[in-house]
Protein backbone atom coordinates (compact mmCIF):
# COMPACT_ATOMS: atom_id res chain seq x y z
CA UNK A 1 0.00 0.00 0.00
CA UNK A 2 1.35 3.39 -0.89
CA UNK A 3 0.83 4.94 2.48
CA UNK A 4 2.68 8.03 3.47
CA UNK A 5 2.74 10.15 6.52
CA UNK A 6 5.01 13.04 5.80
CA UNK A 7 2.98 15.78 7.41
CA UNK A 8 4.54 19.22 7.71
CA UNK A 9 8.26 19.37 8.08
CA UNK A 10 10.44 16.34 8.32
CA UNK A 11 11.61 17.26 11.76
CA UNK A 12 8.04 17.33 13.01
CA UNK A 13 7.51 13.93 11.44
CA UNK A 14 10.55 12.60 13.21
CA UNK A 15 9.50 13.93 16.57
CA UNK A 16 6.05 12.50 16.11
CA UNK A 17 7.54 9.18 15.18
CA UNK A 18 8.97 8.95 18.65
CA UNK A 19 5.56 7.68 19.71
CA UNK A 20 4.01 10.06 22.20
CA UNK A 21 0.63 11.45 21.22
CA UNK A 22 0.62 14.91 19.78
CA UNK A 23 -1.81 17.25 21.39
CA UNK A 24 -3.82 19.06 18.75
CA UNK A 25 -4.89 22.65 19.09
CA UNK A 26 -8.64 23.01 18.86
CA UNK A 27 -10.40 25.91 17.21
CA UNK A 28 -11.32 27.10 20.72
CA UNK A 29 -7.70 27.26 21.71
CA UNK A 30 -6.86 29.14 18.52
CA UNK A 31 -9.64 31.59 19.26
CA UNK A 32 -8.47 31.97 22.84
CA UNK A 33 -4.96 32.78 21.66
CA UNK A 34 -6.30 35.40 19.28
CA UNK A 35 -8.59 36.86 21.94
CA UNK A 36 -5.72 37.26 24.37
CA UNK A 37 -3.66 38.93 21.68
CA UNK A 38 -6.36 41.62 21.42
CA UNK A 39 -5.28 44.41 23.79
CA UNK A 40 -8.63 46.16 24.04
CA UNK A 41 -10.42 42.93 24.88
CA UNK A 42 -7.88 41.98 27.53
CA UNK A 43 -7.98 45.44 29.10
CA UNK A 44 -11.79 45.28 29.10
CA UNK A 45 -11.72 41.91 30.81
CA UNK A 46 -9.42 43.28 33.49
CA UNK A 47 -11.57 46.37 34.07
CA UNK A 48 -14.73 44.28 34.21
CA UNK A 49 -13.03 41.93 36.63
CA UNK A 50 -12.12 44.83 38.90
CA UNK A 51 -15.65 46.24 38.82
CA UNK A 52 -17.05 42.79 39.62
CA UNK A 53 -14.64 42.30 42.51
CA UNK A 54 -15.48 45.73 43.87
CA UNK A 55 -19.17 44.91 43.69
CA UNK A 56 -18.68 41.60 45.46
CA UNK A 57 -16.50 43.03 48.23
CA UNK A 58 -18.34 46.33 48.52
CA UNK A 59 -18.89 45.96 52.25
CA UNK A 60 -15.23 45.20 52.87
CA UNK A 61 -13.97 48.18 50.91
CA UNK A 62 -16.32 50.81 52.25
CA UNK A 63 -16.95 51.50 55.95
CA UNK A 64 -20.49 52.63 55.24
CA UNK A 65 -23.70 50.71 54.83
CA UNK A 66 -25.67 51.22 51.63
CA UNK A 67 -28.84 52.30 53.42
CA UNK A 68 -27.36 54.31 56.27
CA UNK A 69 -28.46 57.95 56.22
CA UNK A 70 -25.96 60.64 57.23
CA UNK A 71 -28.13 63.63 58.08
CA UNK A 72 -25.16 65.98 58.13
CA UNK A 73 -24.09 65.14 54.66
CA UNK A 74 -26.91 65.45 52.20
CA UNK A 75 -25.99 65.68 48.58
CA UNK A 76 -22.37 66.64 49.26
CA UNK A 77 -19.52 66.01 46.84
CA UNK A 78 -16.55 63.65 47.39
CA UNK A 79 -15.03 63.92 50.87
CA UNK A 80 -11.91 62.01 51.82
CA UNK A 81 -11.96 62.65 55.53
CA UNK A 82 -15.33 60.88 56.04
CA UNK A 83 -14.61 58.19 53.49
CA UNK A 84 -17.45 59.46 51.31
CA UNK A 85 -15.23 59.01 48.30
CA UNK A 86 -18.02 59.64 45.83
CA UNK A 87 -19.94 61.95 48.13
CA UNK A 88 -23.52 61.25 49.24
CA UNK A 89 -26.90 61.24 47.58
CA UNK A 90 -29.93 63.46 48.15
CA UNK A 91 -30.91 61.33 51.12
CA UNK A 92 -27.46 61.52 52.70
CA UNK A 93 -26.44 57.95 51.87
CA UNK A 94 -22.86 57.13 50.81
CA UNK A 95 -22.71 57.18 47.03
CA UNK A 96 -19.67 54.92 46.68
CA UNK A 97 -21.26 51.94 48.35
CA UNK A 98 -24.54 52.65 46.61
CA UNK A 99 -22.78 52.65 43.26
CA UNK A 100 -21.25 49.26 44.05
CA UNK A 101 -24.59 47.90 45.22
CA UNK A 102 -26.04 49.24 42.02
CA UNK A 103 -23.30 47.34 40.17
CA UNK A 104 -24.38 44.16 41.94
CA UNK A 105 -27.93 44.51 40.78
CA UNK A 106 -27.12 45.68 37.30
CA UNK A 107 -24.50 43.01 36.62
CA UNK A 108 -26.71 40.35 38.12
CA UNK A 109 -29.67 41.36 36.02
CA UNK A 110 -27.40 41.43 32.99
CA UNK A 111 -25.83 38.05 33.55
CA UNK A 112 -28.70 36.05 35.01
CA UNK A 113 -31.18 37.23 32.41
CA UNK A 114 -28.74 36.56 29.61
CA UNK A 115 -28.15 33.04 30.92
CA UNK A 116 -31.87 32.41 31.06
CA UNK A 117 -32.25 33.73 27.53
CA UNK A 118 -29.28 31.65 26.43
CA UNK A 119 -30.60 28.36 27.75
CA UNK A 120 -34.13 28.82 26.41
CA UNK A 121 -32.96 30.36 23.16
CA UNK A 122 -30.34 27.74 22.30
CA UNK A 123 -32.62 24.82 23.02
CA UNK A 124 -35.58 26.30 21.22
CA UNK A 125 -33.61 27.62 18.26
CA UNK A 126 -31.58 24.48 17.67
CA UNK A 127 -34.66 22.26 17.78
CA UNK A 128 -36.55 24.50 15.36
CA UNK A 129 -33.56 24.75 13.05
CA UNK A 130 -32.68 21.07 13.11
CA UNK A 131 -36.15 19.70 12.45
CA UNK A 132 -37.04 22.43 9.99
CA UNK A 133 -40.19 22.21 7.90
CA UNK A 134 -43.47 22.43 9.73
CA UNK A 135 -42.00 22.22 13.23
CA UNK A 136 -39.76 25.13 12.39
CA UNK A 137 -42.55 27.25 10.91
CA UNK A 138 -44.75 26.68 13.93
CA UNK A 139 -42.03 27.38 16.49
CA UNK A 140 -40.86 30.50 14.70
CA UNK A 141 -44.42 31.84 14.33
CA UNK A 142 -44.70 31.65 18.12
CA UNK A 143 -41.51 33.68 18.37
CA UNK A 144 -42.84 36.23 15.88
CA UNK A 145 -46.02 36.67 17.86
CA UNK A 146 -44.12 37.18 21.10
CA UNK A 147 -41.80 39.57 19.33
CA UNK A 148 -44.63 41.82 18.31
CA UNK A 149 -45.63 42.35 21.94
CA UNK A 150 -44.21 45.65 23.24
CA UNK A 151 -41.72 45.09 26.07
CA UNK A 152 -42.90 47.98 28.21
CA UNK A 153 -46.49 46.95 27.94
CA UNK A 154 -45.58 43.44 29.01
CA UNK A 155 -43.55 44.65 32.00
CA UNK A 156 -46.19 47.08 33.14
CA UNK A 157 -48.74 44.26 33.11
CA UNK A 158 -46.40 42.09 35.15
CA UNK A 159 -45.77 44.87 37.65
CA UNK A 160 -49.44 45.65 37.99
CA UNK A 161 -50.32 42.01 38.54
CA UNK A 162 -47.45 40.89 40.76
CA UNK A 163 -46.18 44.12 42.27
CA UNK A 164 -42.63 45.46 42.02
CA UNK A 165 -39.98 42.83 42.50
CA UNK A 166 -36.47 42.39 41.12
CA UNK A 167 -37.26 38.84 39.94
CA UNK A 168 -39.96 40.28 37.72
CA UNK A 169 -37.30 42.31 35.97
CA UNK A 170 -35.32 39.13 35.31
CA UNK A 171 -38.37 37.35 33.98
CA UNK A 172 -39.57 40.22 31.90
CA UNK A 173 -36.30 40.93 30.15
CA UNK A 174 -35.46 37.24 29.80
CA UNK A 175 -38.82 36.59 28.18
CA UNK A 176 -38.03 39.08 25.49
CA UNK A 177 -34.32 38.54 24.92
CA UNK A 178 -34.49 34.78 24.35
CA UNK A 179 -36.52 35.45 21.24
CA UNK A 180 -33.57 37.09 19.50
CA UNK A 181 -31.30 34.34 20.76
CA UNK A 182 -33.61 31.67 19.38
CA UNK A 183 -33.63 33.38 15.99
CA UNK A 184 -29.86 33.56 15.85
CA UNK A 185 -29.42 29.96 16.92
CA UNK A 186 -32.01 28.80 14.44
CA UNK A 187 -30.28 30.57 11.57
CA UNK A 188 -26.92 29.12 12.54
CA UNK A 189 -28.41 25.67 12.96
CA UNK A 190 -29.95 25.82 9.51
CA UNK A 191 -26.55 26.50 8.01
CA UNK A 192 -24.67 23.97 10.13
CA UNK A 193 -27.32 21.35 9.42
CA UNK A 194 -26.45 21.44 5.74
CA UNK A 195 -22.78 20.67 6.42
CA UNK A 196 -21.55 17.31 5.30
CA UNK A 197 -20.40 16.26 8.75
CA UNK A 198 -23.98 16.26 9.95
CA UNK A 199 -24.88 13.95 7.11
CA UNK A 200 -21.84 11.84 7.97
CA UNK A 201 -23.09 11.54 11.54
CA UNK A 202 -26.54 10.56 10.34
CA UNK A 203 -25.02 7.98 8.04
CA UNK A 204 -23.11 6.57 11.01
CA UNK A 205 -26.38 6.03 12.83
CA UNK A 206 -25.90 8.74 15.47
CA UNK A 207 -29.23 9.53 17.16
CA UNK A 208 -30.87 12.92 16.76
CA UNK A 209 -30.33 14.18 20.34
CA UNK A 210 -26.65 13.24 20.04
CA UNK A 211 -26.34 15.00 16.69
CA UNK A 212 -27.77 18.17 18.19
CA UNK A 213 -25.61 17.87 21.29
CA UNK A 214 -22.31 16.77 19.78
CA UNK A 215 -22.37 18.28 16.30
CA UNK A 216 -24.81 21.17 16.10
CA UNK A 217 -24.49 23.01 19.40
CA UNK A 218 -20.66 23.14 19.51
CA UNK A 219 -20.67 24.58 16.02
CA UNK A 220 -23.34 27.23 16.55
CA UNK A 221 -22.01 28.33 19.90
CA UNK A 222 -19.37 30.70 18.48
CA UNK A 223 -21.70 33.41 17.16
CA UNK A 224 -23.90 32.80 20.19
CA UNK A 225 -21.10 33.68 22.59
CA UNK A 226 -20.47 36.88 20.71
CA UNK A 227 -24.15 37.68 20.89
CA UNK A 228 -24.22 36.94 24.61
CA UNK A 229 -21.47 39.44 25.36
CA UNK A 230 -23.34 42.02 23.35
CA UNK A 231 -26.64 41.15 25.01
CA UNK A 232 -25.45 41.71 28.59
CA UNK A 233 -25.03 45.47 28.07
CA UNK A 234 -28.39 45.67 26.34
CA UNK A 235 -30.04 44.00 29.30
CA UNK A 236 -28.25 46.32 31.74
CA UNK A 237 -29.52 49.26 29.73
CA UNK A 238 -33.08 47.95 29.69
CA UNK A 239 -32.95 47.48 33.45
CA UNK A 240 -31.60 51.00 33.88
CA UNK A 241 -34.38 52.29 31.72
CA UNK A 242 -37.00 50.41 33.73
CA UNK A 243 -35.53 51.76 36.95
CA UNK A 244 -35.44 55.22 35.45
CA UNK A 245 -39.17 54.87 34.88
CA UNK A 246 -39.57 53.61 38.41
CA UNK A 247 -40.45 50.06 37.40
CA UNK A 248 -37.23 48.38 38.54
CA UNK A 249 -35.72 47.68 41.96
CA UNK A 250 -37.26 48.98 45.15
CA UNK A 251 -35.77 51.43 47.65
CA UNK A 252 -33.47 51.29 49.52
CA UNK A 253 -31.97 48.72 47.11
CA UNK A 254 -30.62 50.43 44.07
CA UNK A 255 -29.21 49.91 40.60
CA UNK A 256 -27.25 52.06 38.20
CA UNK A 257 -30.43 53.01 36.46
CA UNK A 258 -31.98 54.25 39.72
CA UNK A 259 -28.82 56.13 40.68
CA UNK A 260 -28.59 57.79 37.30
CA UNK A 261 -32.23 58.75 37.41
CA UNK A 262 -31.79 60.31 40.86
CA UNK A 263 -28.56 61.95 39.72
CA UNK A 264 -30.25 63.41 36.69
CA UNK A 265 -32.81 65.07 38.95
CA UNK A 266 -30.02 66.75 40.96
CA UNK A 267 -27.81 67.49 37.98
CA UNK A 268 -27.68 71.23 38.69
CA UNK A 269 -26.65 71.29 42.35
CA UNK A 270 -24.99 67.84 42.80
CA UNK A 271 -23.46 66.72 39.48
CA UNK A 272 -21.38 64.00 41.18
CA UNK A 273 -24.60 62.04 41.78
CA UNK A 274 -24.96 61.66 38.06
CA UNK A 275 -21.32 61.42 37.05
CA UNK A 276 -20.13 58.48 39.16
CA UNK A 277 -22.84 55.93 38.39
CA UNK A 278 -22.93 57.07 34.77
CA UNK A 279 -19.19 56.53 34.38
CA UNK A 280 -19.46 53.04 35.87
CA UNK A 281 -22.31 52.16 33.58
CA UNK A 282 -20.59 53.54 30.51
CA UNK A 283 -17.29 51.79 31.27
CA UNK A 284 -19.07 48.49 31.81
CA UNK A 285 -20.99 48.81 28.56
CA UNK A 286 -17.79 49.66 26.68
CA UNK A 287 -16.01 46.69 28.22
CA UNK A 288 -18.70 44.24 27.18
CA UNK A 289 -18.72 45.66 23.68
CA UNK A 290 -14.94 45.44 23.35
CA UNK A 291 -14.98 41.86 24.59
CA UNK A 292 -17.77 41.06 22.16
CA UNK A 293 -15.84 42.55 19.26
CA UNK A 294 -12.69 40.75 20.35
CA UNK A 295 -14.55 37.46 20.48
CA UNK A 296 -16.06 38.06 17.09
CA UNK A 297 -12.64 38.64 15.58
CA UNK A 298 -11.16 35.68 17.42
CA UNK A 299 -13.86 33.31 16.25
CA UNK A 300 -14.01 34.64 12.70
CA UNK A 301 -12.81 31.85 10.42
CA UNK A 302 -11.63 34.31 7.74
CA UNK A 303 -8.74 35.23 9.97
CA UNK A 304 -7.55 31.65 10.20
Amino acid sequence: MATDITGGTKRAALIEKAGEEVQGRSLWQDAQRRLFANKMAVASMIVLGIITLMAVFADVISPHAYDEVYWDYIGVGPQWENNHWFGTDANGRDLFIRTLYGARVSLMVGIVTTLVALIIGVTYGSIAGYFGGRVDSLMMRVVDVLYSMPLMFFIIILVVVFGRHIVLVFIAIGCVEWLTMARIVRGQTLSVKRKEYIEAARASGVSTPNIIRRHIIPNVIGPVIVFVTLMVPVVILVESFLSFLGLGVQEPMTSWGVLISEGAAQMENAPHMLIFPAVFLAVTLFCFNFIGDGLRDALDPKDR
Binding site: T3, D4, I5, K17, Q23, L27, Y197, A200, R214, H215
Partner: protein, 337 residues
Protein backbone atom coordinates in the same frame (compact mmCIF):
# COMPACT_ATOMS: atom_id res chain seq x y z
CA UNK B 1 -8.47 -5.63 -9.05
CA UNK B 2 -9.87 -8.02 -6.44
CA UNK B 3 -12.15 -10.80 -7.63
CA UNK B 4 -15.89 -10.51 -7.21
CA UNK B 5 -17.94 -13.08 -5.34
CA UNK B 6 -21.32 -14.05 -6.61
CA UNK B 7 -23.53 -13.18 -3.66
CA UNK B 8 -25.79 -10.20 -4.25
CA UNK B 9 -25.33 -7.57 -1.58
CA UNK B 10 -27.51 -4.73 -2.74
CA UNK B 11 -30.41 -4.57 -5.15
CA UNK B 12 -31.96 -1.26 -6.13
CA UNK B 13 -35.28 -1.49 -7.92
CA UNK B 14 -36.89 1.35 -9.80
CA UNK B 15 -35.66 3.85 -7.23
CA UNK B 16 -37.14 7.35 -7.48
CA UNK B 17 -36.19 10.41 -5.48
CA UNK B 18 -38.29 13.46 -6.29
CA UNK B 19 -37.94 16.81 -4.57
CA UNK B 20 -41.05 18.97 -4.42
CA UNK B 21 -40.05 22.41 -5.69
CA UNK B 22 -42.34 25.40 -5.37
CA UNK B 23 -42.83 27.17 -8.66
CA UNK B 24 -44.75 30.30 -9.43
CA UNK B 25 -45.74 32.94 -6.87
CA UNK B 26 -46.47 32.41 -3.23
CA UNK B 27 -50.17 32.71 -3.83
CA UNK B 28 -50.70 30.84 -7.08
CA UNK B 29 -47.62 28.66 -6.82
CA UNK B 30 -47.67 24.90 -6.87
CA UNK B 31 -45.30 22.03 -6.20
CA UNK B 32 -43.58 20.54 -9.22
CA UNK B 33 -41.48 17.43 -8.63
CA UNK B 34 -37.80 17.73 -9.46
CA UNK B 35 -36.94 14.20 -10.54
CA UNK B 36 -33.38 13.95 -9.27
CA UNK B 37 -33.41 10.15 -9.49
CA UNK B 38 -36.09 8.63 -11.69
CA UNK B 39 -36.37 4.87 -11.83
CA UNK B 40 -32.88 3.54 -11.29
CA UNK B 41 -32.34 -0.20 -10.98
CA UNK B 42 -29.13 -2.16 -10.52
CA UNK B 43 -27.51 -4.69 -8.25
CA UNK B 44 -24.17 -4.89 -6.53
CA UNK B 45 -22.31 -8.05 -5.60
CA UNK B 46 -20.09 -8.60 -2.59
CA UNK B 47 -16.57 -7.34 -3.27
CA UNK B 48 -17.63 -5.51 -6.40
CA UNK B 49 -17.08 -1.89 -7.39
CA UNK B 50 -19.80 -0.21 -9.41
CA UNK B 51 -18.70 3.09 -10.88
CA UNK B 52 -21.43 5.70 -11.30
CA UNK B 53 -20.67 8.48 -13.78
CA UNK B 54 -22.56 11.44 -15.15
CA UNK B 55 -22.46 15.20 -15.31
CA UNK B 56 -23.06 17.31 -12.25
CA UNK B 57 -26.71 17.51 -11.29
CA UNK B 58 -27.62 14.22 -12.94
CA UNK B 59 -28.48 12.68 -9.57
CA UNK B 60 -25.39 10.73 -8.57
CA UNK B 61 -25.21 12.03 -5.01
CA UNK B 62 -28.96 11.89 -4.58
CA UNK B 63 -28.90 8.25 -5.65
CA UNK B 64 -26.24 7.48 -3.03
CA UNK B 65 -28.20 9.25 -0.31
CA UNK B 66 -31.41 7.57 -1.39
CA UNK B 67 -29.78 4.15 -1.05
CA UNK B 68 -28.52 5.02 2.43
CA UNK B 69 -31.97 6.37 3.34
CA UNK B 70 -30.45 9.72 4.22
CA UNK B 71 -33.13 11.05 1.89
CA UNK B 72 -36.38 9.08 1.88
CA UNK B 73 -36.91 7.76 -1.65
CA UNK B 74 -40.23 8.66 -3.27
CA UNK B 75 -40.70 5.20 -4.69
CA UNK B 76 -38.90 1.95 -5.39
CA UNK B 77 -36.99 -0.58 -3.35
CA UNK B 78 -33.55 -0.85 -1.83
CA UNK B 79 -32.80 -4.40 -0.74
CA UNK B 80 -29.62 -4.61 1.28
CA UNK B 81 -28.50 -7.98 2.70
CA UNK B 82 -31.99 -9.29 2.02
CA UNK B 83 -33.74 -6.50 3.97
CA UNK B 84 -36.01 -3.98 2.36
CA UNK B 85 -34.71 -0.64 3.57
CA UNK B 86 -37.24 1.91 2.32
CA UNK B 87 -39.90 0.69 4.74
CA UNK B 88 -37.54 0.81 7.71
CA UNK B 89 -37.33 3.65 10.17
CA UNK B 90 -35.91 4.54 13.54
CA UNK B 91 -33.85 1.97 15.43
CA UNK B 92 -34.19 -0.71 12.78
CA UNK B 93 -32.69 1.58 10.15
CA UNK B 94 -29.94 2.80 12.45
CA UNK B 95 -28.88 -0.79 13.07
CA UNK B 96 -28.49 -1.34 9.31
CA UNK B 97 -26.18 1.64 9.00
CA UNK B 98 -23.38 -0.36 10.52
CA UNK B 99 -23.04 -2.23 7.26
CA UNK B 100 -23.31 0.67 4.83
CA UNK B 101 -21.12 3.72 5.15
CA UNK B 102 -20.30 6.75 3.04
CA UNK B 103 -17.22 8.82 2.14
CA UNK B 104 -17.85 12.39 1.03
CA UNK B 105 -16.51 14.68 -1.65
CA UNK B 106 -15.33 17.59 0.47
CA UNK B 107 -12.79 16.10 2.89
CA UNK B 108 -12.70 18.98 5.37
CA UNK B 109 -16.42 19.78 5.34
CA UNK B 110 -17.30 16.21 6.20
CA UNK B 111 -15.42 16.36 9.52
CA UNK B 112 -16.78 18.18 12.55
CA UNK B 113 -14.26 20.99 13.15
CA UNK B 114 -14.79 20.90 16.92
CA UNK B 115 -13.96 17.20 17.42
CA UNK B 116 -10.58 15.50 17.57
CA UNK B 117 -9.67 13.02 14.88
CA UNK B 118 -9.90 10.20 17.40
CA UNK B 119 -13.45 11.17 18.40
CA UNK B 120 -14.50 11.53 14.78
CA UNK B 121 -13.25 8.10 13.80
CA UNK B 122 -14.61 6.49 16.98
CA UNK B 123 -18.09 7.97 16.68
CA UNK B 124 -19.64 5.01 14.81
CA UNK B 125 -18.15 2.70 17.46
CA UNK B 126 -19.92 4.60 20.22
CA UNK B 127 -23.15 4.11 18.31
CA UNK B 128 -22.90 0.44 17.49
CA UNK B 129 -20.76 -0.82 20.38
CA UNK B 130 -21.71 1.43 23.28
CA UNK B 131 -20.32 -1.10 25.77
CA UNK B 132 -16.82 -1.09 24.32
CA UNK B 133 -14.27 0.26 26.80
CA UNK B 134 -12.55 3.54 26.09
CA UNK B 135 -9.14 1.88 25.92
CA UNK B 136 -10.31 -0.73 23.46
CA UNK B 137 -11.96 1.90 21.32
CA UNK B 138 -8.78 3.94 21.25
CA UNK B 139 -6.67 0.93 20.32
CA UNK B 140 -9.02 0.17 17.44
CA UNK B 141 -8.91 3.75 16.21
CA UNK B 142 -5.13 3.84 16.32
CA UNK B 143 -4.79 0.56 14.46
CA UNK B 144 -7.10 1.81 11.74
CA UNK B 145 -5.33 5.15 11.52
CA UNK B 146 -2.10 3.33 10.82
CA UNK B 147 -3.87 1.27 8.19
CA UNK B 148 -5.20 4.27 6.29
CA UNK B 149 -1.83 5.98 6.42
CA UNK B 150 -2.23 8.42 9.31
CA UNK B 151 0.19 8.59 12.18
CA UNK B 152 -1.65 7.13 15.21
CA UNK B 153 0.00 9.75 17.40
CA UNK B 154 -2.13 12.33 15.61
CA UNK B 155 -5.24 10.98 17.36
CA UNK B 156 -5.78 14.14 19.42
CA UNK B 157 -5.44 16.59 16.57
CA UNK B 158 -8.24 18.51 14.93
CA UNK B 159 -9.33 18.33 11.27
CA UNK B 160 -8.10 21.82 10.38
CA UNK B 161 -4.59 20.71 11.22
CA UNK B 162 -4.60 18.22 8.33
CA UNK B 163 -4.30 18.55 4.56
CA UNK B 164 -7.11 17.62 2.16
CA UNK B 165 -5.67 14.18 1.44
CA UNK B 166 -5.21 13.44 5.12
CA UNK B 167 -8.75 14.59 5.90
CA UNK B 168 -10.02 12.20 3.25
CA UNK B 169 -8.10 9.40 5.00
CA UNK B 170 -9.83 10.36 8.25
CA UNK B 171 -13.19 10.19 6.48
CA UNK B 172 -12.30 6.75 5.11
CA UNK B 173 -11.22 5.54 8.56
CA UNK B 174 -14.53 6.70 10.02
CA UNK B 175 -16.38 4.73 7.36
CA UNK B 176 -14.25 1.62 7.88
CA UNK B 177 -14.20 1.43 11.68
CA UNK B 178 -17.37 -0.65 12.01
CA UNK B 179 -16.36 -3.12 9.28
CA UNK B 180 -19.08 -2.19 6.80
CA UNK B 181 -19.98 -4.44 3.89
CA UNK B 182 -20.54 -1.58 1.49
CA UNK B 183 -19.11 1.93 1.24
CA UNK B 184 -20.59 4.59 -1.00
CA UNK B 185 -17.81 6.90 -2.18
CA UNK B 186 -19.36 10.17 -3.38
CA UNK B 187 -16.63 11.77 -5.51
CA UNK B 188 -13.95 10.88 -2.95
CA UNK B 189 -11.08 12.25 -5.04
CA UNK B 190 -12.69 15.11 -6.95
CA UNK B 191 -11.53 17.76 -4.48
CA UNK B 192 -7.98 16.42 -4.33
CA UNK B 193 -4.88 17.21 -6.35
CA UNK B 194 -3.67 14.77 -8.97
CA UNK B 195 -0.76 13.59 -6.85
CA UNK B 196 -2.97 13.02 -3.78
CA UNK B 197 -5.78 11.48 -5.82
CA UNK B 198 -3.61 8.46 -6.65
CA UNK B 199 -2.83 7.89 -2.96
CA UNK B 200 -6.51 7.82 -2.03
CA UNK B 201 -7.53 5.63 -4.98
CA UNK B 202 -4.84 3.13 -3.99
CA UNK B 203 -5.96 3.19 -0.37
CA UNK B 204 -9.59 2.49 -1.29
CA UNK B 205 -8.62 -0.39 -3.55
CA UNK B 206 -6.34 -1.87 -0.89
CA UNK B 207 -9.07 -1.69 1.74
CA UNK B 208 -11.51 -3.30 -0.66
CA UNK B 209 -9.11 -6.16 -1.27
CA UNK B 210 -8.39 -6.68 2.40
CA UNK B 211 -11.95 -6.56 3.69
CA UNK B 212 -13.90 -7.76 0.66
CA UNK B 213 -15.77 -4.45 0.53
CA UNK B 214 -18.32 -3.51 -2.06
CA UNK B 215 -17.97 0.01 -3.36
CA UNK B 216 -20.33 2.36 -5.12
CA UNK B 217 -17.80 4.73 -6.64
CA UNK B 218 -19.46 7.97 -7.74
CA UNK B 219 -17.35 10.25 -9.88
CA UNK B 220 -17.46 12.48 -12.91
CA UNK B 221 -13.93 11.50 -13.85
CA UNK B 222 -14.14 8.66 -16.36
CA UNK B 223 -10.45 7.82 -16.13
CA UNK B 224 -10.57 7.21 -12.39
CA UNK B 225 -13.79 5.23 -12.71
CA UNK B 226 -12.21 3.04 -15.32
CA UNK B 227 -9.32 2.37 -13.00
CA UNK B 228 -11.35 1.31 -9.96
CA UNK B 229 -14.58 -0.24 -11.25
CA UNK B 230 -15.71 -3.73 -12.19
CA UNK B 231 -18.88 -2.39 -13.73
CA UNK B 232 -19.95 1.11 -14.72
CA UNK B 233 -23.35 2.78 -14.74
CA UNK B 234 -23.96 5.99 -16.71
CA UNK B 235 -26.63 8.39 -15.45
CA UNK B 236 -28.28 11.29 -17.25
CA UNK B 237 -31.02 13.46 -15.69
CA UNK B 238 -31.74 10.84 -13.05
CA UNK B 239 -32.07 7.94 -15.47
CA UNK B 240 -29.75 5.08 -16.29
CA UNK B 241 -28.43 5.33 -19.85
CA UNK B 242 -26.14 2.33 -19.85
CA UNK B 243 -24.73 -0.30 -17.48
CA UNK B 244 -22.02 -2.72 -18.46
CA UNK B 245 -18.78 -4.24 -17.37
CA UNK B 246 -15.90 -1.85 -17.33
CA UNK B 247 -14.21 -3.36 -20.35
CA UNK B 248 -17.23 -3.36 -22.60
CA UNK B 249 -18.33 0.14 -21.65
CA UNK B 250 -14.93 1.66 -22.40
CA UNK B 251 -14.10 -0.50 -25.40
CA UNK B 252 -17.52 -0.48 -27.02
CA UNK B 253 -20.02 1.94 -25.51
CA UNK B 254 -23.42 1.45 -27.13
CA UNK B 255 -25.21 4.60 -25.93
CA UNK B 256 -24.59 7.91 -27.72
CA UNK B 257 -24.26 9.73 -24.39
CA UNK B 258 -21.60 7.37 -23.07
CA UNK B 259 -19.75 7.74 -26.34
CA UNK B 260 -19.82 11.53 -26.07
CA UNK B 261 -18.68 11.41 -22.45
CA UNK B 262 -15.72 9.20 -23.22
CA UNK B 263 -14.75 11.25 -26.21
CA UNK B 264 -14.95 14.48 -24.19
CA UNK B 265 -12.26 13.48 -21.69
CA UNK B 266 -9.02 15.34 -22.40
CA UNK B 267 -6.15 12.87 -22.56
CA UNK B 268 -2.72 13.83 -21.29
CA UNK B 269 -1.04 12.90 -24.54
CA UNK B 270 -0.40 15.74 -27.02
CA UNK B 271 -0.36 13.64 -30.20
CA UNK B 272 -3.57 11.78 -29.39
CA UNK B 273 -5.30 14.85 -28.02
CA UNK B 274 -4.47 17.21 -30.88
CA UNK B 275 -5.55 14.80 -33.58
CA UNK B 276 -8.62 13.39 -31.97
CA UNK B 277 -12.07 13.89 -33.45
CA UNK B 278 -14.16 14.81 -30.45
CA UNK B 279 -17.90 14.15 -30.39
CA UNK B 280 -19.01 17.54 -29.11
CA UNK B 281 -22.53 17.65 -27.70
CA UNK B 282 -24.46 20.86 -28.27
CA UNK B 283 -26.10 22.82 -25.48
CA UNK B 284 -26.31 22.16 -21.78
CA UNK B 285 -27.95 19.71 -19.44
CA UNK B 286 -31.71 20.51 -19.50
CA UNK B 287 -33.33 21.48 -16.23
CA UNK B 288 -34.46 18.42 -14.27
CA UNK B 289 -37.61 20.43 -13.44
CA UNK B 290 -38.96 19.86 -16.92
CA UNK B 291 -37.00 17.11 -18.62
CA UNK B 292 -37.51 16.52 -22.37
CA UNK B 293 -40.30 14.14 -23.40
CA UNK B 294 -39.41 10.67 -24.56
CA UNK B 295 -35.69 10.10 -24.23
CA UNK B 296 -34.26 12.65 -21.78
CA UNK B 297 -31.07 12.88 -23.83
CA UNK B 298 -32.76 13.75 -27.11
CA UNK B 299 -32.11 17.52 -26.98
CA UNK B 300 -28.38 16.91 -27.25
CA UNK B 301 -28.25 13.55 -28.97
CA UNK B 302 -26.62 13.39 -32.42
CA UNK B 303 -28.72 10.32 -33.33
CA UNK B 304 -32.11 11.62 -32.18
CA UNK B 305 -35.14 11.01 -34.44
CA UNK B 306 -38.88 11.51 -34.05
CA UNK B 307 -39.43 8.37 -32.08
CA UNK B 308 -37.02 9.59 -29.41
CA UNK B 309 -39.34 12.49 -28.60
CA UNK B 310 -42.34 10.21 -28.22
CA UNK B 311 -41.25 6.93 -26.69
CA UNK B 312 -39.14 6.58 -23.58
CA UNK B 313 -36.43 4.03 -24.40
CA UNK B 314 -36.32 1.11 -21.96
CA UNK B 315 -33.14 -0.10 -20.33
CA UNK B 316 -32.62 -3.45 -22.07
CA UNK B 317 -29.85 -5.98 -22.37
CA UNK B 318 -28.40 -5.56 -25.85
CA UNK B 319 -25.29 -7.66 -25.38
CA UNK B 320 -24.45 -10.11 -22.58
CA UNK B 321 -24.33 -8.11 -19.35
CA UNK B 322 -24.62 -4.86 -21.29
CA UNK B 323 -27.81 -2.85 -20.76
CA UNK B 324 -28.61 0.22 -22.85
CA UNK B 325 -31.57 2.64 -22.89
CA UNK B 326 -31.64 3.92 -26.48
CA UNK B 327 -33.78 3.42 -29.60
CA UNK B 328 -30.79 3.72 -31.91
CA UNK B 329 -28.13 2.06 -29.82
CA UNK B 330 -24.96 0.89 -31.46
CA UNK B 331 -21.20 1.20 -31.40
CA UNK B 332 -19.65 4.60 -32.09
CA UNK B 333 -19.10 5.68 -35.67
CA UNK B 334 -15.49 6.63 -35.02
CA UNK B 335 -12.69 5.85 -32.62
CA UNK B 336 -13.30 7.71 -29.36
CA UNK B 337 -9.78 8.16 -28.04
Amino acid sequence: MPPVENAELLRVQDLKVHFPIRTGGIVFGQYTPLKAVDGVSFSLKAGETLGIVGESGCGKSTLGRGILQLIKPTDGKVVFLGNEMTSMAGEQLRAQRQHMQIVFQDPLASLNPRMTVGDIIAEPLTVFFPKMSVAERKAKVKALMAKVGLLPQMINRYPHEFSGGQCQRIGIARAMIVDPKMVICDEPVSALDVSIQAQIVNLLMDLQQEFGLSLLFISHDLSVVRHVSHRVMVLYLGKVMEIASRDSIYAEPLHPYTQALISAVPIPDPDLEKNKQRIVLGGDLPSPMNPPSGCVFRTRCPRATDICAQVVPKLEEKAPGHQVACHHWGPPAQALV
